[in-house]
């Protein structure tokens, strides 16, 4: 993935990301990771709003995909902890996430993620996570 930038093949291989309708756009150093506003992802049909878990899954995936671009990343990083703060109710529409690596250490990486829908400066959720970079 790192060498070819072939995220589509990576996404196609992961069944749950297919269920969520996850896609990737490369923007220079950054990756924009999208999730479709599918009816099947609704958690609260009254509002309606996407299920918070799907937003968490999108943000975790955005972090992993970003780490895979690092030259020193060997294998798929394993999530140790993930903390999501939900800021606004997510509407049933295309949702975007962008991950920033805060620290890429020898064994552990720290990543921050923002998710939004229409306007990037009105995030629907923010997250931070720790990843194990290689298993021993």
């Amino acid at each position: 993935v790192r060498e070819s930038g072939d995220f589509e093949r990576f996404l196609e291989a992961i069944p749950y990301l297919q269920m969520l309708g996850v896609s990737v756009k490369v923007q220079g150093e950054d990756l924009l990771v999208g999730m479709e506003g599918r009816e099947s992802l609704i958690g609260n049909p009254v509002l309606p709003a996407l299920h918070g878990g799907t937003v968490g899954a999108l943000m975790e995936s955005a972090a992993i995909l970003r780490l895979l671009r690092e030259p020193d990343c060997q294998g798929v990083p394993k999530t140790i902890t993930l903390t999501v703060d939900y800021l606004r109710s997510p509407r049933v529409k295309q949702t975007w996430a962008r991950a920033t690596i805060t620290r890429f250490g020898r064994r552990v990486a720290n990543v921050q993620v923002q998710a939004w829908q229409d306007e990037q400066d009105r995030p629907i959720a923010v997250a931070h996570a720790h990843f194990l970079l290689k298993s021993q």
Binding site: L17, S40, G43, L50, G53, T54, A57, T81, L82, Y86
Partner: protein
């Protein structure tokens, strides 16, 4: 079974499309403790080599179970929303085994519900993940068309 539990079961089993898509069902819901299960399905896999479920499935299960645990302690049905959720991934979920959750709402105030819980494959002493989450109570369900409600 009280009115809240009845409504909750109905909401969960019928009205939440994503929980339905995951095949999630509630096994128990009373006194602030919710227990749920997701059957193992190929569509939920995150690692095609090992067959381990995607972390997002664990997140969704624990978020929903936490919400249910809070809901079961409300005196009257009211909308709630996740404020924050922390998941610690302790090990990969065992392939071909169902994923269970057990979340307790250990404190509820007028505005906030506090929860903690685990996900496991049938043995609570060998958890897959642990969670802690907070939920806002009485969140407004009103939304002006095309716009968000009050900030």
């Amino acid at each position: 079974v009280g009115p809240i539990e009845k409504l909750m079961r109905k909401l969960m089993s019928v009205a939440s499309p994503h929980m339905r898509e995951l095949g999630m069902e509630f096994l128990d819901l009373k006194d602030g403790v919710a227990v749920a299960r997701i059957p193992y399905k190929h569509e939920l896999v995150g690692d095609p080599v090992t067959g381990v479920l995607h972390g997002g499935v664990v997140t969704t299960l624990l978020d929903s179970t936490g919400g249910a645990a809070v809901f079961s302690r409300l005196k009257a049905p009211a909308p709630i929303a996740t404020l924050d959720l922390r998941i610690d991934y302790l090990r990969g979920s065992t392939p071909n085994e169902p994923l269970y959750s057990r979340v307790e709402c250990y404190k509820i105030t007028r505005q906030v519900g506090f929860t903690r819980g685990i996900a496991h494959n049938g043995d609570e002493s060998d958890p897959v993940a642990s969670m802690s989450g907070t939920f806002m109570l009485n969140t407004t369900a009103v939304r002006v068309s095309g716009k968000e409600g009050g900030r």
